[in-house]
């Protein structure tokens, strides 16, 4: 049985999507000439500002291209579905946003992305464009706490990119941008649960199998297996399980502020996300933590996968300022 999708040829899906994005958001986005996978913010890059290039595989929309815009990322390099972009569009992005103050690469920590972005950085060095890299590693499920740098980057990207983009927009120095970006990443924690798979446009076949009554805790946003397969529980019990892991690591003190993201992996509707949000709030109340801002919806998806993730960013004064900083992206404005 094939998954039904509103696509043309599966192999054309990513390029046709990008064409649709550009015609829908001409005031926000354009593509580098002859490099259709390099998507640039019309009003973001400018002289003296650190340029922020994000990127990764397609299929996570609105991540990554939805976060390109004034006050957030300056460009996104777009790969095939669930596949890192190759160096060429990354290089084109970096050149388009370079304002002479350095270019920061930020992306989720996956072997493929690291290799491609590193190759791009090596080639940019030949052109004397200084590139630094901050990997996002917010997925609590993907490695123990003492191997934080081994973790995957998932929905926490939204807050981490947002903080770094604000630092760039505020004309922080390259050193300061990098520090703020690492700081944002270090204080961001995500745990997810998947209920049903998605299908790649080229295969139209579910990318993993899961039982009718099962859920997968800690599943990756490309359907990579998680930490445990359990039988499906109530929304409150699932939320507790995710929040337990997050709170255990976060080590916040009563009175601390947080930013919260309850994110759909694709087909889980807002009704379910808000039911989870209600429980997140109860758990945060119990821990004496204050929600400064919250996002609920489709922010970092895996095509039509069913499931949700919870992200908590442990704010301090600086992160709060950066998260509150205005941004104006095609798919995200504050």
């Amino acid at each position: 049985m094939k998954t039904k999708k509103l696509i043309n040829a599966g192999a054309d899906a990513v390029d046709e999507m990008l064409q649709g994005v550009l015609v829908a958001h001409p005031r926000h986005l354009y593509a580098v000439e002859d490099v259709p996978r390099a998507i640039i913010a019309r009003n973001g890059p400018r002289k003296g500002k650190v340029g922020l290039v994000i990127g990764g595989g397609s299929g996570h929309e609105p991540t990554f291209l939805g976060y390109v815009g004034k006050g957030l990322a300056d460009a996104a390099a777009i790969g095939n579905v669930f596949a890192s972009p190759p160096p060429d569009p990354i290089i084109a992005c970096a050149k388009a946003v370079d304002g002479g103050a350095g270019v920061l690469f930020m992306y989720g920590n996956y072997a493929g992305d690291v290799m491609n972005f590193d190759m791009a950085a090596e080639m940019l060095a030949l052109d004397e464009i200084e590139v630094r890299t901050v990997l996002t590693t917010d997925d609590v499920a993907s490695a123990p706490a003492d191997q934080r740098e081994e973790r995957r980057g998932v929905a926490g990207n939204v807050f981490i990119f947002k903080a770094a983009g604000a630092a760039c927009d505020l004309l922080y120095s390259f050193d300061e941008v990098e520090r703020a970006a690492r700081h944002a990443n270090a204080r961001t924690y995500t745990m997810g649960v998947a209920l049903a798979p998605c299908s790649l446009p080229q295969t139209l076949k579910p990318n993993f199998l899961i039982g009718e009554e099962e859920m997968e805790i800690g599943m990756g946003i490309h359907g990579e297996p998680g930490v445990a397969r359990e039988s499906l529980k109530t929304a409150d019990a699932v939320t507790d399980e995710l929040m337990d892991s997050i709170l255990r690591e976060m080590k916040a003190e009563r009175g601390d502020r947080v930013a919260v993201l309850v994110n759909s992996l694709g087909s889980t509707p807002m009704m379910e996300l808000y039911i989870m949000m209600r429980r997140v709030k109860a758990r945060l109340d119990e821990a004496g933590l204050v929600i400064h801002t919250s996002l609920v919806g489709n922010y970092c998806t895996s095509l039509e996968m069913a499931g949700a993730s919870i992200t908590v960013m442990h704010l301090d004064d600086e992160l709060q300022r950066l998260i509150d900083h205005p941004c104006d992206c095609a798919m995200f404005a504050r």
């Binding site: 095939n80 160096p87 491609n116 295969t203 990318n207 993993f208 490309h222 990579e224």
Partner: protein
């Protein structure tokens, strides 16, 4: 009989066909411990490489140009993990045969060996970490060793093929230390690494190519 640009064009076409035939199987392997797209990546990459290489004029393009064209095409079609790994492999091969109008058997085996080395360096992976290196490294070692003992190309790659298949099969019992699968702990035990499997297909294609030339 030396290996020409034309021969290499045939080789890349052969590889692309063999990988295409296993596309869905490779996706399934990747679905078990990765993100399910390895067949798509290898298929797109090998097809792009074969097409770029096939478009070269054999009268104008030396073997080094073949490998470089393959590297570029593979990389840009794919990205992912396989893109940089195979692009680096092909670039190293291209560098190793620089200035040669055609390749001797020794040249060809050396090119093969530096491909394996390139993959290992780009991925910073050691054998035993459940990656394509577990296929490439023993295969390259075998080819070099058999060639050093004076055997014909076909025999070199027969042994490389055998070593590749063994290396690939052995990933089944390994924990993963690199790539997406490295986060899964012992849930990967019992599953072959998809990159190791596609590497074994490519090396089998090369063995077929060598057999056909010698035979």
């Amino acid at each position: 009989m030396a290996i020409t640009t034309k021969d290499l064009q045939h080789l890349f076409a052969l590889i692309a066909g063999d990988i295409a035939a296993q596309r869905d199987h490779l996706c399934e392997l990747d679905g078990a411990i990765g993100d399910g797209d390895h067949g798509l990546a290898m298929d797109a990459g090998c097809e792009a490489a074969a097409k770029a290489v096939g478009g070269l004029d054999p009268a104008q393009a030396a073997p080094t140009a073949v490998f470089n064209a393959a590297a570029k095409a593979f990389l840009n079609a794919v990205g992912a993990s396989s893109g940089p790994l195979y692009a680096t492999a092909f670039m190293r091969a291209g560098a190793a045969v620089k200035d040669k109008p055609e390749l001797s058997d020794d040249d060809f085996v050396r090119a093969f060996a530096v491909m394996a080395q390139g993959i290992q360096e780009r991925g910073k992976a050691e054998p035993g970490e459940k990656t394509m290196v577990d296929t490439w490294k023993p295969a390259a070692d075998a080819a070099l060793k058999v060639r050093a003992s004076g055997s014909a190309l076909a025999e070199c790659f027969d042994m490389a093929d055998r070593a590749a298949r063994q290396g690939c099969e052995a990933t089944r019992d390994l924990l993963a230390a690199k790539g997406r699968a490295s986060r899964l702990g012992d849930r990967v035990i019992g599953h072959i690494d998809p990159g190791a499997a596609s590497a074994a297909i490519i090396i089998a294609s090369i063995a077929k190519f060598a057999r056909h030339r010698d035979g």
